[in-house]
């Protein structure tokens, strides 16, 4: 990092080590998942074994949004915010709360997708800050999403869909009238609205990544539409 002022270099090193820590944690998670599968030859119970680590990571990912807000990372706050929110939602409000669905295949699907995506992303950030970015990592970051995104969305949607009957039966997180706050909330219908919201949100995130890809990998100059 020649030609960078001392304070800048200092903060770069700090960020760099932070990303490396995130990267290695996801790697640890991935390895834990693989080891479990190889040992038990089944995916049942996999979620339970990694649950605590996963919950910790995803919550810590809130830091990411803070980064974008302060401007350390160049992705937009809204895009990252939506991603982090949906991940936290999935972990805390669906898979953690509804034990019966923890052995569904769709859970494994999105877990694998998230793990692969995050490993790529954090190694990209780390190497980027070190100014020694191997091309294959850049290639991976801007190409893998084409398969990972749709697969991840499919995993998440299938999981929510599988959770619906249990939500209906237990009436969890719901509040009925009359009550002294004069408000009601039906978690079942809320989940349906969440599923529907993927329809406008997913294409926006996907095309955002496609635009980034054209800019970074293909060197196209894209005139941003203002306002």
């Amino acid at each position: 990092m020649i030609g960078v002022s001392p304070s800048r270099a200092h903060s770069n090193l700090f960020r760099c080590s932070k990303y490396f820590i995130f990267f290695s944690r996801w790697l640890v998670l991935a390895m834990a998942m693989m080891r479990f599968y190889l040992q038990k030859a089944t995916h049942k119970g996999l979620y339970k074994s990694i649950a605590r680590t996963l919950k910790f990571f995803q919550t810590v990912a809130l830091v990411e949004v803070g980064h974008c807000a302060i401007g350390i990372v160049r992705t937009s706050v809204i895009v990252t915010g939506v991603q982090v929110c949906s991940r936290i939602f999935m972990v805390w409000f669906i898979t953690n709360s509804i034990k019966q669905i923890q052995n569904e295949e769709s859970v494994i699907l999105f877990l694998v997708v998230w793990t692969l995506t995050e490993i790529t992303r954090y190694s990209f950030y780390t190497f980027n800050l070190l100014n020694h970015l191997p091309y294959f990592i850049k290639w991976a970051r801007y190409n893998m999403f084409i398969i990972m995104y749709p697969l991840g969305v499919a995993g998440e949607l299938l999981t929510i869909y599988a959770a619906l009957p249990f939500v209906r039966k237990t009436g969890m997180l719901s509040m009925r009238l009359p009550n002294k706050y004069n408000i009601s909330f039906d978690y079942y219908y809320f989940l349906i609205i969440v599923m529907l919201s993927y329809i406008p949100l997913f294409p926006q995130l996907f095309f955002h990544m496609l635009r980034q890809r054209r800019k970074v990998l293909l060197g196209e100059i894209i005139v941003e539409k203002d306002e």
């Binding site: 706050y181 408000i183 005139v223």
Partner: protein, 308 residues
């Protein structure tokens, strides 16, 4: 933007107008004709003319002679998008809540269970809430028509969809619960709570109206002058001593009163969101007052005395 002929010597200006993004030359005026004669779809309210592509727009009152340009003036044009008048937006966004709330109050079919259609609530606080809510929006409509003096004639068209979704959505959400057959009147302090809430609400409504009148009187009809507002003989305006935007302060107070009156969480959410938005606006207004007037009273806060 106007061009005056000088009395002493005749000064000719040549004006070229470029697109701010692509730098294409849109027109070259050696006789000054309005831009929209060349491009009829870009009527005056949509035009943003500026000296620098990323700079601020010039105002209608700016005179060509007084701008820092040579004899060939280069301006940059930006299309602001389809525009709609402020009055239209206000009437639509306030008319909606007024009507929607009444629909819920009269329990129009398909909202609640059929056995409740066209019934009325047995709680007197529900009737009171309907009167207050309707009064509030009626007041806003009348102020839009007769009191407010707007600096800009128009705003971008997409704002009407955004604003109406906000106002209409929240109004429907609040009205649904307040007028629900299973509504629970305030339990914490009962009737006393409702009475105090009503006093707060009315006090703030009168206050808000007084501020609007005071602000209107600052500005002669048809002009766009800006002056520092000061307390008048009306005691409700004495809050100007402590606050830059007391209209927002009173508005917050009104909704706080309404929340207390109905003890309804959706109303609390609406008050909170409104508070955040109004604080943002108040801070902006306060900052522009400070920038524009050297002698601006230092004791004033944007929206809450001493606090915010």
């Amino acid at each position: 933007m106007t061009s005056q002929g000088s009395r002493k010597a005749v000064v000719f200006f040549e004006v070229e107008i470029l697109d701010a993004k692509t730098k294409d030359k849109l027109c070259f005026l050696d006789k000054v004709r309005p831009l929209h004669k060349y491009y009829p779809q870009w009527y005056a309210a949509r035009q943003s003319i500026r000296l620098d592509p990323k700079g601020k727009s010039l105002k209608d009152e700016d005179v060509l002679q007084h701008l820092p340009v040579g004899t060939t003036a280069t301006f940059y044009f930006r299309d602001l998008g389809a525009q709609i008048s402020w009055v239209t937006v206000f009437l639509t966004e306030y008319g909606g809540p007024l009507l929607l709330y009444l629909m819920f109050y009269f329990r129009v079919p398909f909202i609640y269970a059929p056995k409740y259609d066209f019934t009325t609530s047995k709680h007197w606080v529900v009737h009171l809430a309907c009167m207050c809510h309707s009064f509030h929006y009626l007041k806003r409509l009348l102020e839009t028509l007769f009191v407010h003096r707007f600096s800009h004639g128009t705003m971008p068209l997409r704002n009407i969809f955004k604003n109406c979704t906000y106002y209409w959505g929240f109004a429907a959400w609040m009205a649904y619960y307040i007028n629900h057959p299973l509504y629970t009147p305030p339990t914490i302090y009962g009737e006393q709570q409702v009475r105090i809430a009503l006093v707060i609400f009315l006090f703030c409504q009168v206050g808000n109206f007084s501020i609007h009148i005071a602000l209107r009187n600052l500005r002669p009809p048809g002009s766009k002058t800006r002056k520092i507002p000061y307390p008048t003989k009306n005691p409700f305006t004495w809050i100007f001593l402590l606050v830059s935007c007391p209209n927002y302060t009173y508005e917050l107070g009104s909704w706080f009163g309404f929340t207390l009156m109905t003890q309804c969480l959706p109303v609390a959410f609406f008050t909170a969101v409104g508070f955040i938005q109004m604080t943002v606006w108040a801070k902006g207004k306060h900052r522009s007052y400070l920038k524009e007037f050297r002698d601006y009273p230092p004791l004033r806060s944007p929206i809450l005395p001493f606090v915010l």
